[in-house]
Every structure is written in C-alpha cells, then in structure tokens.
C-alpha cells in the first residue's frame, strides 16, 4: 500500500506553507515571519497514479505545546487527536540556515517512532551564506531520510516527491541501548559532524539589525516607513482612481443611451454604477497599501517592528507577540483575530482579540478616502508632504493609539497577568520576490473585486430597492426617496444619531455597512443618487462636500475609527473566545466608544465653528 497522507510539520517560518503551495498548487498565505499559519490546511497532489493528501500544520518549536495553534500540531504528531487525518508520514521541514534551532524539533519527532523524513528547506539561502551541509552524513546522524528542497523554486520539491513514491517509509531507528543525551548536546554533535558554516549568523542581517533594532533610530525608521506608505497611498493612486471613475461614468452614460428611462435604468445608474462604481474607485489605494505591507512581510522587517514596539505594547497590557495579529488586522480583523492563536498567555490573547477590531482594516480605507477627498484640500504641507496623506496617517495613528488605550484600560480591570518574556524568532532579511508580490496583489485585488461583485452588489441592489419603493404619491412635493421604505427607516433612526451630527442618509448607509464597511460608501452613493432632483448627480465626494458640514464629516470619520461595523468580525470574536460575554463586551464597548468620540468631535467642531 502506498503513501496516501502526509503532514508537513516543523518550526515556524521554515517554509512549510510555501512547500504546501508548491506541492498542491494552492495559494495559502506565506510571509517571512513566524505564526502565519494558525490552522491546519488540507490539499492534495497527484504523484503517478496515486493522490497524496497533504496537511499543512501550524509551526511549533516543540511538542510541549504552549499555544492553541501548537496544540493542533502536537495532537496530530502524537496521534492524540487526529482531526480526521491520519498521516502515514511526517515530513519535518527544517530551515537549512537555522539547523541549530530546527533540529531539536526533528529529534523530538524522531522519538515518537513514526515514519518520517526531513525536508531540508531553503538550501539556496544556505548556499548563499556559505553553509555546506553533508546530507548523507546528516541522514546517518539523524537516522531518518533527509531530502533537500527549495520551496520557492518551481522544481524545488522534486526530490521530496521521489521519496514519497515509495510504498512506505521506515520508522526511525531508535537504539534502546543508547545513553540518554541532552537534545542541545545532540544537536551540537550532529552539526559538528555534518555541517560547516562560516559564521553563526548572516553578516548582512547583523549589519541591518544594528540600525533597524536600534532603540532610537529603529523607531525613527519605523515611523518613516509608515509615513512614506500613507503618503504614497494618496500621491500614487490619484491618476488610477480618475481613470476608473471616468470609465464608470462612461459606462453609465452608455447604459442611458441604450435603455429607456425607467426603473431598470435607475437601478443601473443610481444603484450599480453609482454605488459599486464609487467603491471600485478605491481599488488603487488598497493595492498600493498592500504592496507596501506585502513587501514588508516578505522582507522580514515586521518581526523587528514587533521587537521595537514590545516595550510600548507591554506597558499598555499587550505583548510584542500581539504585533503580528494586530498587523494582520490591517488587512482584515478576521485573520488578525485568528492569528492570536499563536499567543500563549490566555489573557494576552483575549486582550489582543478585543482590541483587534480597532486596527484600521482595509475595508475602512474607502470610507476614509472618500471623506478625506471630499473635505480635505489637496495641497502640499512644508513643500512636499501631502495634506490628505497626513490626515490618513492621522486616522491610522488614532486607531493605533486607541488600541493601546483600550488595552491599558483592560489591564487595569484584569490584574491576573503573568509575565511572559518576548521570545521572537527574527528571520533573515530577504529581498521581496516580485513574482510573489504580484501574486499577492492579484489575490488582494480578486478578494476586493469578489466582495464588490458579491456582498456589496447584493446589498447595493437591496438598498436601491428600499430607496425606490414604494414610489411617491401623486401629490408628492419631496424627493421620491423620502416616501420610500429606506426614507422611513432613515427618518425613524435619525433622532438617535442626531447628537453626533448624522443625517438620515448616513444612518441608512450604516445599516448595510454592518455586513461590510465599504457598503456604506456604495449605500451613500445610491441614496444620494436617488435623492438628487436633477439628472446630474456628480461625484459622491462633491455631493457630500456640498451637503455635509465639516463637523459631520469628522464625526463620521471618528465613528469609523471605532465602530464594529462588521458582522463577520463579531462572529469571529465569538468563535475564538467561545464566549458570548466577551463578544457582547466587545460590541458594546466599540459602539460605545464610536458614539462617545463621534459626539465629542461633532460637538467640539460645531462649537469651534
């Protein structure tokens, strides 16, 4: 009987998921830091006539699991819980540039006595650093089969596949007569026998770390990187946005020429082109932001940023380990909340889950960009800083400050914290691979476009329907939307939001915005397009600038910094905490903060004006 199931195990950031992607052809997220994979992932590939199932497991430093993601790996390796998957072979992936650390886990797995083989990954990086590994000797010392792999090269897993063609792999030989030996000693002995390396660490890494991890310059460089990122989001996206806007308007005009005036044309022009087109304009900004984030992820800089911020995070009740989950939340809070599984301390994990929705996820970007574009003039500050970019950076900083402030308050309520020193593996620096970057951006664009064509389209059509039906009475004097279902709902809820300066149109857009934050932009576009008495509705930003006060715009921006406008995030908090109590607390405090700060900002702005 041939091998049918294999499990990829190993230390974090050794390239398991890259190998999984190479073997199965899938596109699971990979990055140059530990803790990207927190759930098991299943895939398969054909090998001759056989199909081999591959399980990609979260990284673990040892079988002595200390966090929820490591427990999954421990359970499957030890067979205490199979999760419906029985691996015939454990493929232990190790980083060839960091054998001193990774071989300890190999020895632990070997002691289990299960069939296994070692995939010596990143052999190309090892060769660049002058590390010479005698694979045959290593195989002899370990007592298990060893194969070289390069998970980022197209044919980098060929030798691994050859080994898996065998009917079965032998279990490692464990000599019962052998004297017990400390694992560290054992690793040192194996390395002496089979590996020669010019120096323990990379000279380039050491040189860069001298500056990037410097307590003063390091923080300054981090600030500069973030500053440049947000400036670029505005400065580089404008021509692309104008192009998309012109295309959507052209399409809308073409529809007007083909279709007769009527309800169907209204759906197309006010709902689909007005609503979806407005959201689509923000794709360039999202892609520019992610180009920076992906490049930073690939470079290996992010764990350094976590290290730099550990002191601040610890003071506010978080930990440097919270950095990566919080950073993931800038894409979307859901994977960010899931990434907290790599945090060992349950209190730290809970605190990170509770504050993750405060980080500025990419779905907020269209709302911010719309309002900043409408209310903040496009002008330079001090010669070459972009004012709109500065305001956007300010909103992101506001989100970061609120993360720390809320964590600090939680720390005051919960004093059961146990001290955990930050042990973080700093990966080697790598130049971002342009192909991987392009694939990452393409995936991001697809996710966004799928949302536009999926949930945003669905809700825009429904909001258009509610805004158009029932039609106005014969003696109507107000715009038609005032008599519609949406108009009535908006007017009914408006008094609740009047103290924070929201009109009924904003209130209405917030409701579908609960499903996805960007829908609020599409919602506003649809509602204002239908409300318009003239045929020429113009760009949404210009319409808002003429109908809202600056105080209202600031209030909406503040609301979006805090409000948990996303049902999926709330559901994920419930799943990860397994507690309705904490889910309720999160929803209550986020809405409470949103209302309180929006009220404060609105009333202050009104008073000042």
């Amino acid at each position: 009987m041939s091998i049918a199931n294999i499990a990829l195990v190993g230390n974090p950031n050794c390239g398991k998921t890259a190998l999984f992607n190479l073997l199965t052809g899938s596109r699971q997220k990979v990055a140059n830091y530990a803790g990207v994979t927190v759930e098991r992932k299943l895939g398969q590939f054909a090998l001759g006539e056989n199909t081999i199932n591959v399980l990609d497991l979260p990284g673990a430093y040892s079988l002595n699991a200390t966090s929820p993601d490591e427990m999954i790996t421990r359970d499957i390796c030890m067979g205490t819980h199979d999760y419906g998957f029985h691996p015939d072979v454990l493929v232990c992936v190790v980083d060839a540039t960091n054998l001193r650390l990774h071989l300890r886990f190999v020895l632990e797995l070997k002691a289990l006595g299960r069939p296994m083989l070692v995939a010596l990954n990143m052999m190309d990086s090892a060769a660049k650093r002058g590390i010479v590994i005698d694979v045959e000797k290593l195989e002899m010392e370990l007592g298990v089969q060893v194969v070289s792999t390069v998970a980022v090269a197209a044919n980098g897993a060929d030798r691994l596949k050859e080994c898996l063609r065998a009917d079965a792999l032998p279990a490692p030989l464990i000599d019962p007569q052998a004297l017990p030996e400390d694992q560290h000693q054992q690793v040192r002995r194996i390395l002496r026998a089979s590996v020669s390396m010019p120096r323990d660490t990379s000279a380039l890494d050491d040189g860069l770390d001298r500056w990037l991890l410097h307590p003063v310059f390091g923080v300054l460089i981090l600030g500069l990187v973030l500053f440049f990122m947000f400036q670029a989001v505005y400065a580089w996206a404008a021509p692309f946005q104008d192009g998309i806007s012109a295309s959507v308007q052209w399409l809308s005009g073409q529809a007007g020429q083909i279709l007769p005036a009527g309800i169907l044309l209204s759906l197309l022009q006010d709902g689909i082109f007005g609503g979806l087109g407005t959201v689509l304009e923000f794709l360039p900004q999202i892609l520019i932001l992610f180009a920076f984030i992906l490049a930073l992820e690939e470079s290996g800089y992010l764990p350094r940023a976590a290290f730099l911020l550990d002191r601040v995070m610890f003071a506010s009740g978080l930990t440097g380990r919270s950095f990566i989950p919080l950073l993931s939340s800038y894409a979307c809070a859901i994977p960010g909340i899931m990434a907290t599984r790599s945090i060992q301390d349950p209190r730290d994990r809970l605190a990170t889950i509770m504050v993750a929705p405060l980080t500025t996820c990419s779905a907020r970007l269209p709302v911010y960009a719309l309002l900043i574009g409408a209310f903040i003039p496009r002008q330079d500050v001090l010669g070459w800083f972009n004012l709109q970019g500065l305001v956007l950076l300010g909103l992101y900083v506001f989100g970061i400050v609120s993360v720390f402030a809320v964590a600090l308050v939680m720390k005051r309520f919960n004093k059961t914290k146990s001290d955990h020193a930050l042990l973080l593996e700093l990966p080697s620096y790598r130049l971002p691979n342009l192909r991987d970057l392009a694939i990452g951006l393409w995936d991001r664009a697809r996710i966004f476009l799928r949302r536009v064509g999926g949930i945003i389209l669905t809700l825009t059509v429904l909001l258009w329907f509610l805004s158009s039906f029932p039609g106005p009475p014969a003696d109507a004097v107000l715009p038609a939307i005032e008599y519609s279902f949406a108009g009535r709902i908006g007017h009914f809820l408006a008094p609740l939001f009047a103290p924070i300066g929201f009109n009924w149109q904003i209130v209405l857009a917030l409701i579908p915005g609960m499903a996805a934050r960007e829908v609020a932009v599409a919602g506003l576009a649809t509602v204002y397009a239908i409300s318009s008495v003239s045929d020429d509705t113009g760009q949404l930003g210009a319409v808002l600038a003429s109908q809202w006060s600056l105080a209202t715009a600031l209030s909406v921006l503040t609301w979006y910094v805090f409000a948990p406008q996303c049902i999926s995030t709330i559901a994920t908090i419930k799943r990860e905490t397994n507690s309705w109590k904490y889910t309720g607390i999160a929803v209550f405090y986020l809405f409470g903060l949103a209302y309180f700060f929006a009220f404060l900002v609105y009333q202050t702005a009104v008073w000042l004006s």
Binding site: P260, L264, L267, V461, F465, T572, K574
Partner: protein
C-alpha cells in the same frame, strides 16, 4: 422593454439578492427552509411543481458561514 417586464426583472433580482444575503449570514436557517420548500413542492402532483422542487433541493452539506473552520477567512467574503 415594457415597464411590466422591467418590474418583473427587478423583483427577481431583489429576491435573488435576499436569498444570497440569507445564504451568507443565516446559512443553516436558509438551508433548512430551502429544503422544506423543496420537499413541499416535490410532494405536489403537477409534474412541473415536482421538477421545480427537485431543482430547489439544496446541496447535501449545509453551507458554512464565515464563523466556521473553513480556513478561507477574508477570501470567501
């Protein structure tokens, strides 16, 4: 296109959107009701109702919402 056809098209589109919304946010509930409707129609006599019921029969597996272990967070939404 006559106003009647335009209205019919709009109603069909709105129903489809409501169904998509329910499938996303109330997957188990919508699956149960779809199964109930399908069973009801299949038990009726005219052949076209039976066929409609068969077409409406939901997939054997209850669709998963965004709060389950589908490992595709932020990709399926």
């Amino acid at each position: 296109m006559s106003p009647l056809w335009q209205n019919l098209l709009i109603y069909a589109l709105v129903l489809w959107c409501v169904w998509r919304l329910l499938r996303k946010y109330l997957p188990a509930w919508s699956w149960q009701n779809q199964a109930r409707l399908s069973y009801f129609l299949e038990s009726k006599n005219p052949l076209w109702l039976k066929r409609l019921g068969q077409r409406l029969r939901p997939a054997a597996v209850i669709p998963q919402g965004c709060n389950t272990h589908c490992s595709k967070c932020n990709a399926c939404s």
